[in-house]
Symmetry: C2
Subunit: 685 residues, 2 copies
């Protein structure tokens, strides 16, 4: 090691920064940050005799794809993260002391508002999966010769020992080894203490090693994670030029929580606590003399890579404060569609149409990648796999890892489509939640929606999925009812940025849309309408078809109703629905979903003019068209202060715990079939 | 082994049953069921020379706590499960052929409607955690001398190899070993093939063994999972009487998917497919001669255990078809409360009050147990731990496992309270989802709600949690605003059965309720009201306090408003809210939560008279009082066919991605503080 003395000074400076910034903030995770100082300082700043370093990063170009990536899976060690970049000269003294303040980029847990952070962390156990996605993406870029490098970029993930209890970490460990991601390197900071006491394994590094080696990783143990030289040796070993191994690697270091401050070291009860003025003075005295001018030098990635919008779009957004995506809706060029196998009346499942659309997308959009969790022959993502095997990633039965992996891939500029059963996407809700704080670009497609699934029974059925996906602040939620609309909406999604959920169904349904139909996010389609309408049916998915059957039955009795396909559940076509509601004064919503949080709630919001709009001070990435109309905000403005109309409202949905049975039987049992619709409408009128 | 020939006949019968039942149903997971036949037949029916068996179960008394438990974590192998019980003589030929039919107890994936199933499975990776909970519970019952046994009951969990990719399995493996649950025994059916192809490890049993041994389990390998004798030896070994080891155990067996039918064996593409008439004939011919009269004998648990309501209530419900809980609301005896440290105006956090209530509950209710995920000093479940350490279970940072473990404990008759940050409970949504199909008794308490959390930032904040928990069909969702109401509602919950979520907050807030206040599930409290009211504010949690401040500010300007604390978000006090809405015609809802699926949607439902009622054909367990008033269904009936009133509705909530900052700053930024309320109200009026 070339610069040990410098490193010692840097470690002292970093500790100084951690202590002062957290005490100034009055909160923060001090002891957790202190235990990983040497590990991170060596990673960032140590130089070999040849002047090489471990971590390579272009501070002036955070979007540079060839940068190494650093993820703090133990996100609560953010004070350490910020102090590292202060020691690198990229963060000023003043800014460092804005930790946790309102409007500061230095938030309590890292978010991409800080220029050198790609993804938000803070919900433990997710970082390794995100790193897996980045590592996978980088290898794909290299394979496609889209990355000009001399040295393969590495993805470094700092984990805590407490979070090793999270199952998702073991999903990532298994799958990273399976995909031979030797560009993924974990660093586990084993400081023995969780938030409220000792972890399950304490300082038993051997057991961590045994477990992780059994998962196929190469492990290097560091007995003293605060000895700069032994830490350095470990990093050397990890990156040594011995025969090339195709395994991911991890450094497991024994550390001390609170290291550097005697009254904190290895003590319980200090998690998340900071020092008051008196304690701080004692601690700083212990630290000794600080060289405030010392800075570490992070080497460049060692090649030139032109930053082009197409590859950097995934990593950074221009404006950090109000990230949102506002995709417009029109299909660019209908001629491109050239699929001619869906004719009106054909029976085609929407899941199959999704698969077909993926293939189409794959042909025209080289950045689209697809991930699936062992059910690609059910979701039909397998169609994409057959044509583009290089861009399809089997993620096995591990949905949490899949979603976080997709987030990582998005940060390398890919456009991931993630698919599994709608019910199983629920497994990864926390990962979707965190993705929203990471400017995540995630297209999720959940199949097997509702009781329409039939004999498999409720464990396999998405009945809360619309609610969950609506909950994400800026999500888009779509539920097309036939193959054509599914195909076209899926195609639309490739240019949409943000978190999107599209719901598909298992069984074949009649094609009701013409190939030339114009569909848009935030749109709806009035399928039946007349001057004599007494009531409006608003439906999505299978219930659209039931509504159309009901329409025919009612027409025989000379009762006219309007039928609306609300394929865009969020944003909902508020304008249309509000005006129809106001005019007809009778609305019935029908959905194959539990009563709460789904289309029913969405329609009620529309009728009440509750704004579902995104924050209007929107900033979009360059080069991306606006997809979502601002019609919604216009609607709100126009309707401001007008009263909630007096409307007769009914909601047919799944109100009883479902069971096995034929799809038709279940629609009947749950009273969301044509017969139930007719009955309810007659009651209403 | 005493009865090898019988076992061979039973295996043939079971295969016959699997084939015929699935073909009759027209769907089902045939090949998956076939691979585990010998494993399960030996478990259920093999006898040693001494006439002992491995699995002990009282078919006439499924609620018998001393029964062994069997969980099919690979729930899609349900045809095998039902065939086993047919072979045991507990299911008739006719019933077996009702597989997957509407109204059959033999659903596509097991549910407690089948008398010998305790928990629904079908979402992979959850079974081992549920078994962990049962094993934990059984040991506690034994320790408390509440279980009279000669032989400790075992919990057997059948897993598939595909589902070993699920992280939750590894959460369970680690935590079961930590808790030395040597009464928990896993059986992994390694048939190499997942749904769409080979698993990551194929038939590499050695690697499974290495991994699981590293997690602290004892492993026995079975090289041929279809050789009855070697399978038998494995079970003998697992349960042998060598020196008592305190580790959980697992049998890992190499098997063949589709075993028993030559054209299915080890073939890809057959997952979830059944045989048509022709194929079935060929398969049955291959099976050879079936002894249709043969039955296996499952031995009793070998002791007498009186079935008392208190211990069996967790396992079985009287009526399987419409399980729900309808808890009434009144506190049984206010004198019992005897807590005198919350006085009006005191600043106490609701999370602390939750902790205090837990201690109170613990004193009077010996069946209450508490689980927490490494944050007990933040959620205050630690107060319970300090007084009742035997009944507190640290579940480390593994929320999925925690929730499923709680479900398992509930099946042993305990009343689990599960706590962590509201944001992290999201991690376990799928587990909550499945619990609803298991008649799950689960009290979940999520702390650190909303932006009110402050400097930690959004990764730590529950902003979608109300929406998620409302989504569960029959859930109860509460959000008390002060210490007294939190304390009292928590106390109420101990006698409530079903899935309940209570939301607490981080910072101290003023006590506004008197100790004698009557609170009920489905209730609300009108805090301010006058004849001159122009508008109603409906709030919950911190926004109640902001609303009260707003009230005072408005009063100064001679504007009167009504303030309602909607502490019961689900079921909502529809009656009160509807009548106030109708009368005042102006309603504003304020919540510290994202716009969708929370209190706003709940109030809109109430105003639209959408029924949030549970299925009225309710059947309650004996001995349990009714807690939830039927007021709601009365309300619906009374309001039938009355129009949606014309109401001016506004909704203040979190509409911008939050960030770090002080709680007050964030309430202001998100426009849900008193000032924003006043401003909005003036606009409305």
């Amino acid at each position: 090691m070339q610069n040990k003395e410098l490193l010692e000074k840097l470690c002292r400076l970093i500790r100084y920064d951690i202590l002062t910034s957290t005490s100034t903030a009055g909160s923060g995770h001090l002891t957790t940050s202190l235990s990983a100082v040497e590990l991170m300082a060596v990673l960032f700043f140590a130089k070999t005799e040849l002047g090489e370093s471990f971590f390579r990063y272009d501070l002036k170009n955070p979007s540079n794809l060839a940068n190494d990536k650093i993820i703090f899976s133990k996100g609560h060690a953010s004070p350490l993260l910020y102090s590292l970049f202060h020691a690198a000269g990229a963060v000023s003294n003043e800014e460092l002391l804005t930790l946790r303040k309102f409007n500061s980029k230095l938030e309590g847990h890292p978010t991409p508002r800080f220029p050198f952070v790609d993804v938000a962390t803070g919900s433990l156990g997710q970082g390794l999966s995100i790193g897996l996605g980045m590592a996978l993406g980088l290898k794909l870029r290299i394979k496609n010769s889209e990355l000009k490098i001399k040295r393969e970029p590495k993805v470094w993930v700092l984990l805590g020992d407490s979070e090793m209890a999270e199952g998702q970490v073991w999903e990532a460990l298994g799958i990273a080894a399976f995909y031979k991601l030797n560009n993924l390197i974990g660093i586990i900071d084993v400081n023995r203490l969780g938030q409220r006491g000792e972890t399950m394994l304490g300082w038993d590094l051997e057991t961590y090693k045994k477990r992780i080696e059994a998962f196929g990783w190469e492990v290097v143990i560091v007995e003293d994670g605060h000895n700069i030289e032994t830490v350095y040796s470990a990093f050397r070993k990890i990156l040594s030029s011995k025969p090339y191994t195709l395994t991911p690697k991890v450094i497991i270091a024994k550390t001390v929580k609170g290291k550097g401050v005697s009254f904190l070291e290895n003590k319980e009860g200090w998690h998340g606590k900071v020092l008051d003025e008196k304690q701080l003075k004692v601690a700083l005295d212990e630290l000794g003399e600080i060289d405030f001018k010392v800075r570490g030098n992070i080497l460049l990635p060692n090649f030139q890579f032109p930053i082009s919008p197409s590859t950097s779009s995934g990593s950074r957004a221009k404006s950090r404060d109000n990230f949102q995506s506002n995709p417009k809706s029109k299909i660019q060029n209908e001629k491109k569609l050239q699929f001619n196998n869906y004719k009106l009346g054909d029976l085609v499942s929407t899941r199959q149409a999704f698969g077909d659309a993926l293939v189409k997308i794959g042909k025209t959009n080289p950045d689209v990648v697809v991930l699936d969790a062992e059910v690609s022959n059910s979701t039909f993502s397998q169609k994409f796999k057959e044509v583009f095997p290089q861009r399809f990633f089997e993620m096995f039965i591990a949905e949490q890892n899949m979603v976080s992996t997709a987030l990582g891939l998005a940060k390398i500029g890919f456009k991931p489509f993630v698919s599994t059963f709608s019910a199983f996407l629920n497994r990864a809700f926390d990962q979707v939640r965190i993705a929203q704080y990471s400017e995540g670009n995630l297209k999720m497609v959940g199949s097997h929606a509702g009781v329409f699934v039939g004999p498999d029974g409720p464990s396999q059925e998405g009945l809360e999925d619309i609610s969950l996906m609506r909950s994400i602040l800026e999500s888009i939620v779509l539920h097309p009812c036939d193959a054509v609309s599914t195909y076209k909406l899926t195609l639309l999604l490739q240019e949409v940025l943000g978190i999107v959920y599209l719901r598909t169904m298992r069984d074949p349904l009649p094609v009701i849309y013409d190939l030339n139909e114009e569909l848009r996010i935030g749109g709806s389609k009035i399928l039946r309408q007349s001057e004599a309408d007494k009531l409006a049916i608003v439906a999505a998915g299978v219930t659209v078809h039931e509504a159309l059957k009901a329409y025919d039955l009612l027409l025989k009795e000379k009762i006219n109703v309007c039928v609306v396909d609300a394929y865009s559940i969020k944003p909902l076509d508020q304008k249309t629905i509000f005006s129809i509601g106001k005019k007809l004064k009778n609305i019935i919503v029908i959905e194959d979903h539990y009563p709460f949080g789904g289309l029913g709630d969405a329609v009620l919001s529309a009728l009440s003019q509750k704004s579902e709009i995104r924050n209007p001070s929107f900033d979009f990435r360059s080069g991306r068209p606006e997809f979502i109309e601002r019609a919604n905000s216009e609607t709100v403005n126009n309707m401001q202060n007008s009263k909630f109309p007096s409307i007769n409202f009914e909601h047919l949905c799944v109100r009883k715990i479902p069971r096995s049975g034929q799809p038709g039987e279940l629609l009947r049992y749950e009273e969301i079939d044509a017969r139930a619709i007719v009955k309810k409408i007659k009651e209403m009128l």
